[in-house]
Subunit: 162 residues, 2 copies
Amino acid sequence: MDAKRDLVLERVVDVPPELIWKAWTDPKHLTPWFTPDPWKTVGCEIDLRPGGRFHTVMRSPEGQEFPSDGCYLEIVPNRRLIWTSALEPGYRPAKRTATPGHECEELLFTCVLTLEPQGKGTKYTATALHMTEADAAKHATMGFHEGWGKCLDQLVAYVKTL
Amino acid sequence: MDAKRDLVLERVVDVPPELIWKAWTDPKHLTPWFTPDPWKTVGCEIDLRPGGRFHTVMRSPEGQEFPSDGCYLEIVPNRRLIWTSALEPGYRPAKRTATPGHECEELLFTCVLTLEPQGKGTKYTATALHMTEADAAKHATMGFHEGWGKCLDQLVAYVKTL
């Protein structure tokens, strides 16, 4: 942890780790909540092993699609999931490419998700590790806390319907 | 594997995987062979776990020192070792920094080392995965095959003294 280069969303939610794990690791259960409304997640592929592919396609309200690829690093069922956009699947260093329609380069980060049982719920901690303080600041400005928080609300509401 | 973005050194050597593994994973046994003579490896720290630090310091014949940090990804004793310079230890995306005294940016790559027993020896395969064809070409021009080949000669000669 590095306070200046990390962004953290930490919250206790009233659903168990097993349901949150399912929502993060099965495309069928990820697409309903992964993108803050009115954005949609319209594609997802998950190869859940170290070095495996984590692929998503987000669609803007205007209909533009933003594919993205990450690489899984650590998988501890129901407890910890780590993936990064700094590597392609198979661990190859990822290119920093400009996203079509955006001027800026893609922001590289590593996501460390930890789930700790707490009563009948879960202490949910999502940490985004960045290269630099500037990247962390940019991610914060892009709405990290609001966006990831809203997604977590969506996740909790969704898994309660399962 | 991607023929255009990967560089591969593959050779059968007459020492067993266990000795090669020792030479790659213990600082005491890594420093004697890791840098092609007359360069020297003058520092090494190894935290042999996924996410752990692989730190080396190379010294040029003129005495200039070049520290570098990588992150271990997969560790299968005596068979497979994967680490990358695209992540810092702890999986944080690595900065591409200019090396002091060099004009160019540091080359990011992932190293996949596989050791397969072959008779009393080992089929040794070291693959460097790059972001782009340009990075692979640059690494080849920097002397990948000669350099890594010479280091392997040094490794084999060294472990025979153990």
